[in-house]
């Protein structure tokens, strides 16, 4: 069953120096329970696509349904059924972890008691129990990221959107986060739509990979199939695959994260 389906989804920004076609027509279907890796270099249009799919940004072309709701006609339905973790998170540093988690549950219409219980439960699952009374400002990078994800899960969404979840994390925290994403899908059957510009991350986490470049999908398939098709051997690195598709390499070291 498809939880996300888009056709010709597009967004053009009007800027002082002329129109910028950030997303130029995306056709995509995501199945329930899938972990989809949306891979592309910086500026490929990943964040813009995610912001459209989460109702933050109105598309300038095309259509999409997310979790059974039409993006444009029923944005409130989409919001209730999806969680979104932005690249730089969204917690107030001056507020405690517990208060942010409870508020988040209530913003998604849980009752006070439900929201409080859910905060405890998420803290247990995501290893935040010891940190509940701390101010968000006092968390490490990895802890902050776990909190951001807990916030996105407050209302048990059918789909979780993660924008570059491990950018800026140390290697240890990165692999912890990968485990967490796998756990979320295994435990709750949540569909996970994650963007990344790290090839190893896309390879390690995704059931299916969609490669985007300059606002368009340039390849779509399982990591193995893509490697076989574009680089001739399943042992080829995604780096080789990407090079074969786009004629350009992607090096995470070169990639400077752009905060949007």
């Amino acid at each position: 069953m498809a939880v996300i389906s888009t056709s010709g989804l597009a967004r053009t920004f009007q800027t002082r120096s002329g129109p910028v076609q950030a997303v130029r027509g995306i056709d995509l279907t995501v199945q329930a329970g899938e972990i989809l890796g949306f891979l592309g270099p910086n500026g490929a249009g990943k964040t813009t696509t995610l912001r459209m799919l989460t109702t933050l940004l109105a598309p300038t072309g095309g259509a999409a349904t997310v979790a059974g709701c039409d993006l444009v006609r029923d944005p409130a339905g989409v919001r209730q059924k999806t969680g979104y973790v932005a690249q730089s998170g969204g917690v107030d540093p001056s507020i405690s972890v517990r208060e942010e988690l409870v508020t988040q549950g209530r913003l998604y219409r849980l009752s006070k008691a439900e929201a409080e219980a859910r905060a405890e439960e998420l803290a247990r699952e995501l290893d935040l129990t010891e940190l509940l009374e701390r101010k968000c400002a006092a968390l490490s990078g990895g802890q902050r990221r776990r909190l951001d994800i807990a916030m996105g899960l407050a209302h048990r969404p059918a789909v979780l959107f993660l924008d570059e979840p491990t950018t800026g994390l140390d290697p240890g925290s990165r692999s912890d986060l990968w485990d967490l994403v796998r756990l979320i899908r295994a435990q709750w059957g949540t569909t996970v739509f994650l963007t990344t510009h790290y090839l190893d991350e896309a390879d390690a986490l995704s059931d299916r990979l969609v490669i985007v470049d300059q606002g368009r999908i340039v390849a779509d398939g399982t990591p193995i199939a893509l490697k076989r098709r574009y680089a001739g051997s399943p042992d080829a690195t995604l780096q080789d695959t990407f090079l074969a598709i786009t004629g350009r390499g992607v090096t995470p070291q070169d990639a400077t994260p752009v905060a949007v």
């Binding site: 989460t54 109702t55 933050l56 940004l57 109105a58 409130a76 919001r79 209730q80 979104y84 932005a86 730089s88 998170g89 969204g90 917690v91 107030d92 540093p93 001056s94 507020i95 208060e99 508020t103 988040q104 209530r106 913003l107 998604y108 219409r109 916030m151």
Partner: protein, 251 residues
């Protein structure tokens, strides 16, 4: 409707708790008008400012609205910081009504400024203000209306600027002429003809005049009517503007 009210109460609660955590901020806001009362008020006591009542009945309404003008117009600072932390976007992605996202915030602001207005009135009473209780309560209502309007506009403006550094000067550039032209300090009826005419283009003037009328017990005249109409128009325009911003913020 009940969902909308619950949403508004939730957003209000979040920001009210934040305000209550900084007691300094709560008291500090009342400091400027209280200083005016203590150090500037005595200069005016002997002057024939008022056609009816005492100079205090002219000065204090001005100070109340000044509290709203200078306090609420700077509310936007907070949202610039929140925007940088991604808090605004995180709230916009929840199903909470867009109007509630705005109203919860601005009602917190209004509550804060009305509380400060109460402090100002207490000091003013001690210094010699005499005014009817109903008039004073009406004054608080105007402070609340002014706070809601200006805070809404301030949030809208703040969402469009990228840094706090550019926001402050912008607000001051609007506030200074607004303060002078609305006759917050001295009534515009004292002004020469051209200045008086100019000041009629400034919406806040009608609010100040209405509160001054309320403080001398004149509730049924045209001054009060204009004050109420301008306040209602200001509320409608500013809340609509503010809500639209939460609906389609490209920030």
């Amino acid at each position: 409707m009940t969902t909308f009210l619950a949403d508004t109460a939730l957003v209000f609660g979040r920001y009210a708790r934040q305000t209550l955590r900084s007691k300094i901020q709560i008291l500090f806001g009342a400091l400027m008008p209280v200083l005016y009362l203590l150090l500037y008020g005595p200069l005016l006591t002997g002057m024939p400012l008022a056609s009816r009542g005492s100079s205090w009945q002219v000065l204090v309404p001005g100070l109340l609205l000044q509290l709203g003008l200078f306090g609420a117009a700077f509310c936007g600072f907070a949202i610039i910081i929140e925007k940088q932390h991604g808090v605004v976007e995180r709230m916009r992605v929840t199903p909470v009504s867009r109007l509630a996202l705005l109203l919860g915030r601005v009602l917190r602001d209004a509550a804060l400024f009305v509380f400060q207005a109460v402090l100002v009135i207490l000091v003013a009473l001690a210094m010699g203000l005499r005014a009817p209780l109903f008039g004073i309560v009406l004054g608080f209502a105007f402070v609340a209306a002014m706070a809601v309007s200006l805070a809404s506009l301030s949030y809208s403006l703040a969402m469009r600027v990228s840094t706090p550094q550019s926001f402050g000067p912008l607000v001051n550039a609007v506030n200074m002429p607004a303060m002078l032209l609305s006759g917050l300090m001295l009534p515009m009826s004292l002004a020469p003809g051209w200045l008086n005419v100019l000041s009629h283009l400034m919406p806040f003037r009608y609010l100040v005049d209405a509160v001054r009328a309320a403080f001398v017990g004149d509730y049924g005249g045209s001054t009060m009517l204009y004050g109420v109409l301008v306040a209602a128009a200001l509320l409608a325009v500013s809340v609509t503007t503010g809500t639209r911003l939460f609906r389609k913020a490209e920030a």
